[in-house]
């Protein structure tokens, strides 16, 4: 409870921004869905065959998994708010359409006959008789849609649209229950609150309801217009993958760029879901820069086969060359640390058995009790290949990522797989073994951008190149530890590092 309150106090600024974004996306999606679904349902009321087809179609749309839908939308409309809103609209169509259609078509035939017999025009009949009678059902459809939208909008965080999902994603990623709870509870509260508001609309006098509705739209629209106005200076958008490490890096980018060029403003979009989302966003100019790893470039982003046993320099050179040629992109100078798969043991175990390299493990084969993630055990560039490369004969227990650290901490196992910059290495006093055979591919981080952008912004390139060769694995572990365990903000941690290492002038 204490940590929950503490986290809440530290994050309340972020929470407010996220709430605002969440609300904006949700309301926009709801209004658009209403504008589409209600007239369509009214139109379909007189055409039962069409109505049947449209009901089927909206039902099918709703069964598309939301992640798949977002993935499908990125190549078409890019990332950020637009695809998020489109996806939400698609989900909201069914309840609104269905309820409006049923609400109107189930009106008693004698009421319709009365309206006709009094010579009401189509429009008058619709607005004076049919819509008022169907209103309770339409409103309940809107409420269903709203609750659905607010829940699903948490996924918007995956494609850089922000919102409360950011808290949930971060909470999951950092195993931080407080963050996760704050995100989930806020989202639930928002749903309840808005649902009550919609119900109030139903009972309120029409004029007052309309006034409040317009006020909400103006407020949200005004907020949007203001943010556009405030961003008139040249804005560079930098995004990062999910996790503390990319967030720390992009905060460093921001500090360095803004210190170099006062006319540039950097917006950050942390915690993007997947590598491909980011790469696609860069291709479509939705973002200008994001930190990428040399190994990931060769594995997933560019075409071509990769020779085994490359050094860090060779990996970088190849990644850079292929990116320039195939994608007209520039991968700037990498930092020092290599965020790759690694094997870790406790510092004590390392000392006792005088282990330095992975090859040293063959000496202690008989007493090894490895616990590793299922993915690592099963990959050819994981344990399978490793055993061959080092002629090692061990069998590993498969364990959940978080559990294996717990297990080695309690002494149940004595060898784990890890990412070389995991904050847990620092937290549980673990040491890495050197990959002396260069078995694991190298994953060095470097800023990725389009070549055209790099040419137009030489000052940005200069600023970012200051990081080249800096930040060791221990540095990164330490910084991840500060963010994940000590709950410091990524911005603070990034700034402190830059100042301490003389890359940025300190604040006086």
């Amino acid at each position: 409870m204490h940590t929950l309150i503490q986290t809440f106090m530290e994050r309340r600024g972020d929470l407010l921004t996220a709430l605002w974004q969440h609300l904006g996306i949700s309301i926009a999606a709801l209004v658009i869905a209403m504008v589409i679904a209600i007239p369509l349902a009214i139109w379909a009321c007189r055409r039962p065959k069409w109505a049947e087809g449209l009901l089927q179609l909206t039902s099918v749309l709703q069964t598309i998994p939301s992640l798949a839908l977002l993935g499908l939308l990125i190549p078409l409309v890019g990332i950020g708010t637009v695809p998020a809103v489109i996806a939400l609209v698609i989900y909201a169509l069914l309840p609104i359409f269905q309820n409006t259609y049923l609400g109107i078509s189930e009106i008693d035939a004698s009421i319709e006959e009365a309206a006709d017999a009094f010579g009401m025009s189509r429009m008058r009949k619709l607005f004076k008789v049919e819509l008022p009678i169907a209103m309770p059902q339409i409103i309940s459809g809107i409420r269903t849609a709203l609750v659905l939208i607010i829940g699903t909008a948490t996924l918007a965080a995956l494609i850089g649209a922000g919102g409360l999902g950011t808290f949930i994603m971060l909470g999951i990623d950092r195993n931080d229950t407080a963050l996760l709870l704050i995100g989930a509870v806020s989202s639930a509260l928002l749903a309840i609150l808005l649902s009550a508001l919609v119900r109030w609309f139903q009972t309120a006098k029409p004029r007052r309801a309309l006034t409040v509705f317009v006020a909400i739209l103006v407020l949200l629209g005004g907020g949007g217009a203001y943010s556009v106005y405030a961003n008139r200076v040249e804005t560079i958008t930098i995004a990062g993958k999910l996790g503390s490490e990319p967030e720390i890096l992009i905060n460093m980018y921001k500090d360095l760029i803004e210190a170099q060029d006062k006319h540039v403003k950097v917006t950050l979009k942390p915690n993007f879901g997947k590598t491909t989302f980011l790469f696609s966003a860069l291709q479509h100019d939705q973002i200008q820069i994001y930190p990428e790893f040399t190994g990931s470039v060769l594995e997933t982003l560019v075409k071509g086969s990769n020779p085994k046993g490359m050094t860090a320099q060779q990996t970088y050179a190849l990644a850079k060359k292929r990116l320039a040629k195939q994608e007209q992109m520039s991968l700037l100078e990498p930092m020092k640390y290599n965020n790759t798969y690694a094997l870790a043991v406790t510092k004590q175990f390392k000392r006792e058995h005088q282990l330095t390299n992975i090859s040293d493990l063959t000496r202690v084969e008989s007493i090894l009790k490895p616990g590793m993630t299922l993915e690592f055990i099963d990959r050819n560039d994981g344990l399978k290949g490793l055993k061959k490369a080092y002629n090692l004969d061990v069998t590993a227990k498969s364990m959940e990522p978080a559990l294996r650290y717990e297990a080695i901490n309690k002494g149940r196992i004595n060898l784990v797989d890890a990412y070389s910059t995991d904050s847990e290495l620092r937290q549980y006093h673990l040491a890495l073994l050197k990959d002396n055979q260069h078995f694991f591919p190298t994953y060095q981080g470097a800023p990725l951008m389009k070549t055209s952008f790099a040419k137009r912004h030489p000052q940005v390139v200069t600023a970012l190149n200051k990081l080249a060769g800096h930040i060791s694995e221990t540095d990164m572990q330490e910084m991840n530890y500060e963010v994940n365990v000590k709950n410091k903000s990524a911005a603070t941690v990034a700034h402190t590092y830059l100042v301490k290492h003389g890359l940025l002038k300190g604040d006086n």
Partner: protein, 322 residues
């Protein structure tokens, strides 16, 4: 008398089946005309063809001398009130809003509409302050149909169409509303076409009655003529079927209808004549005739005619087996 509505060789088919082969009928201005018949006789369809809720298959209908298909359907309907069996008040509108539906569309000034609503409510015995802002679901069935009638006549239409308006109501409300229709008709002199399957209702309301069967009009006549000279057995039976289950429950007016009233006031002392309402049952008439020589049958305090012992005995012996 000028003609209000005229059916000329009207034919109506449903899904290729002819339900009304050839209907000819003239309804006069200011007349309360009742179309009566069993279900499926085509009476409701005939009514709905007047305001074009049902299109005609062939022939034409003239309203005030104009072919209904030559005027815009909305203009036609705005000058015709319509009362439905299901009442069908608009459930989201208040009583006042329901009554205002047609005047509002016609662009009548708001003040005038508001005044009309108050007048009409008062006229049907509902306090405007209490009822104006009620919703239909807060009213009893009888009250709802009163509003249904007011909604139909609010714009002062020349013609009012009523489609079995009281058949879903309890007997007491039905009787009160029948009287209301007669009162409103006497006051506004509009033409009313009233559809019912209840012969008693037809006899009570109709200036003239049209009896329908299988889409054909068998006889059109005044209640008295219909009672005394039915054109065939069906009409006779239909009329007969409207009698009471028990002879004591037959109402006084029916004796007058069937047997004919004594029209001139008998030259006897006032003390020997007792006034009775047309709805009074025969048991009351017997009672009255035991110590009076004559019964004066009244409707709305207007004497319709006189009955004596002979007339009543003749009715009992000759006309109807009970």
């Amino acid at each position: 008398m000028t003609t209000a509505i005229e059916f000329q060789h009207v034919q109506k088919d449903f899904n290729g089946q002819t339900v009304i082969p050839d209907l000819n009928l003239t309804i006069d201005q200011g007349e309360l005309f009742v179309l009566v018949g069993t279900s499926g006789s085509g009476k409701t369809t005939s009514l709905k063809m007047i305001n074009r809720l049902e299109p005609l298959t062939a022939g034409k209908i003239l309203v005030n001398g104009t072919d209904t298909t030559t005027v815009p359907v909305r203009d036609l309907r705005w000058q015709m009130g319509y009362v439905l069996q299901q009442i069908a008040l608009f459930p989201t509108m208040t009583v006042a809003q329901n009554i205002a539906v047609i005047p509002e569309m016609k662009g009548t000034p708001k003040k005038e509409i508001s005044q009309t609503i108050d007048d009409l409510l008062t006229e049907v015995g509902l306090d405007p302050h209490e009822y104006r802002d009620r919703l239909p679901r807060e009213l009893s069935g009888g009250e709802q149909q009163r509003i249904g009638i007011l909604r139909a006549i609010a714009a002062n239409p020349k013609t009012v169409l009523m489609d079995e308006p009281f058949s879903a109501l309890d007997p007491l409300s039905r009787q009160q509303l029948q009287e209301l229709v007669l009162r409103l008709h006497a006051r506004y002199h509009n033409t009313i076409v009233f559809v019912t399957h209840d012969m008693n209702e037809a006899l009570k309301l109709g200036d003239r009655i049209g009896i329908m069967r299988h889409g054909q009009l068998l006889q059109v006549d005044t209640p008295t003529a219909l009672a005394q000279h039915p054109v065939n057995d069906f009409v006779r039976d239909f009329f007969g079927a409207s009698r009471a289950k028990n002879v004591y429950d037959v109402y006084a007016g029916r004796v007058g209808l069937v047997q004919g009233y004594l029209k001139t006031r008998p030259a006897v002392a006032a003390g020997l004549i007792q006034n009775l309402d047309v709805q009074a049952p025969l048991r009351t008439v017997f009672d009255a005739l035991s110590d009076h020589d004559y019964v004066a049958v009244t409707e709305d305090d207007q004497v319709q005619g006189y009955l004596d012992r002979q007339t009543v005995m003749a009715y009992l012996s000759a006309h109807e087996e009970v």
